[in-house]
Symmetry: C2
Subunit: 344 residues, 2 copies
Amino acid sequence: MQKKTSLKDIAQVVGVSTALVSYVLNNKKENRISKEVAKRIRQVAKDLNYQPNQIAKSLKTSRTRTLGLIVADIANPFFATLARYIEDEADKHNYTVIFASSDENPDKCQKLITTLLNRQVDGLILAPPAGVESQVIDLQKKGIPLVLVDRYFPDIRTSYVALNNFQAMYTAVDHLAKAGYRRVGMITLDTDLYHITERTRGYLAALQDNNLTTRRSWLKPIGPSNLPAEVARTLQAFTTGPQPVEAVLFASNLIAMAGLKAIKSLSVAVPNELAVVCFDETDTYGLFDTPLTYIRQPVQELGQLAVSVLLNTLAVPGQITQVNLDGQLIGQASTQPVSILLPD
Amino acid sequence: MQKKTSLKDIAQVVGVSTALVSYVLNNKKENRISKEVAKRIRQVAKDLNYQPNQIAKSLKTSRTRTLGLIVADIANPFFATLARYIEDEADKHNYTVIFASSDENPDKCQKLITTLLNRQVDGLILAPPAGVESQVIDLQKKGIPLVLVDRYFPDIRTSYVALNNFQAMYTAVDHLAKAGYRRVGMITLDTDLYHITERTRGYLAALQDNNLTTRRSWLKPIGPSNLPAEVARTLQAFTTGPQPVEAVLFASNLIAMAGLKAIKSLSVAVPNELAVVCFDETDTYGLFDTPLTYIRQPVQELGQLAVSVLLNTLAVPGQITQVNLDGQLIGQASTQPVSILLPD
DNA sequence: TTTTTTAGTTTAAACGATTAAACTATTTTA
DNA sequence: TAAAATAGTTTAATCGTTTAAACTAAAAAA
């Protein structure tokens, strides 16, 4: 690898000290430096195609202009999209992003945090898996600038940018109730993660407020292993028997994906036999037979705000900002009012 | 931010020089160092929760154990999946990854390369947009370890890991021909990117080898702007008129997505009215009415090989490795043999 | 006993930047 | 004319590591 030009090289060519070169190229002490020397320095820097060594800079300034991003899985479209918006927003402020996937695994998360901190990232954007409360507290104690995104822990006072999950699910159930559906089921993830339990809470609250029946068997949490099969089994149970569910909510994009496939293979008619509400937006939904009602997360805002909140924390350490954004219900044919459902 | 412990801190506590601490913690000169001192140093390092400052380390060793990854768009499922495999493989070798999206824009690509190089990444994994040949040559000249992935330039001698796109598309067309389809169209991207033109070449070669008609109008390149509408328009044209196309190939995942949606909204029956072959695998395809035939890219191998080829280049500079992996045709109902097509 | 070898450790320079403080020469003020 | 202010530049320390070379004391060889 051909050696890159350093401040020293420029200094040598121009015949000045490296300090002066540094001052000129960083526009410091402008009023003190002679125009001509400054001009020559800039010219030589350009000629030699000088690019500052960020590593050296970082060592001195202890700022790397790098952010660490830990999500559950960068291959998950939700996180991939989020990552993209984070990347763009970071780039706007001349920051780069190192990303890593925790696989919802606390140990892996801890390892990633350590790795990122050793690389001296200026701050962390974290979509924390369940069970990392202590890690987050630890980061706070160390004073590491941090913002949680998508998920957060209500009992720990951190900055976060997340969806108002309660509202989102409440709105969806409310929508179903208003459309005339009475027996409403939900398939969710079997996890303690607050953003998921909030969705459950929203579901239950909206059922109650609309005087709809709540049944234990209509609320089905699914473990992460063998998710598609479990979802299929649940839908089978939901749609058969004497009192089948009339509408179902899928509490995450992965569940929605599995659910829609199951609905296809079970040949359940949507919405006539079963109304459907999905979580998250993916262009995938466009391939389903019936246009799908779904809860749209403001992914762009989530990403942008996560970055700006974090950069803010860098500027004003210790400041805590907590943001809950509302989801938007996109009503489509999969939750058509019962009254105008076409006969089979 | 509470100050982290440094080598100096450990040295002070133990009462030795930083050099010795460094030697111990890096297991250098093992035979020279007294067991007891080594033990004490390790103990104190643990007690003080010492984490080496990678920045300082990097400055000295001029290796950052960081790789730069530039793809077209990290939000595109293909690249998101690829990125995930790259992340995992890099992590296996204790490397981290900085990612960035070029949006198929040469200027942005150049900017990203510069940024990544300033951060002193040890090497670059690049899915280059069209028109960055000069940038790649420049990187080669500078001796920057580099591997192209997914795409490459046949006229530039670089390491790369890519699909055998000619073979992939050839196989698909061959499959259609063997299944009895005669009038075969393809919708592709309007670009000079070699991996895409190779798909076209495979398409044409297979048509010829199977004595099938080649028609200019059956091969439709689509520009990136307003892609879905253009794809829909093309499909409309393909399926109407006196001599409609019997089968269509979608030359990328984005085109496939748009194409499938259009097929739905045009109510074209698959495969009875139109057989379909898609490029890339996504679980999206599971929602389509007919199980889809598609060309599966070995994304995991692509990602893993990209990393290992790059790490190899780091070890043995100047070594060029070029890998073309075969795609796999997954034959399903959307290309059922004409002879057993159900009557409408 | 003197010299050589070996073991164990320290010294000090270096990586490439930043920046407070010092320095020199010139100009202004008193 | 001496003192003070200003302009323009350099010196040198520093960030946290690594590592060749130097050093010292004890052990082994002559």
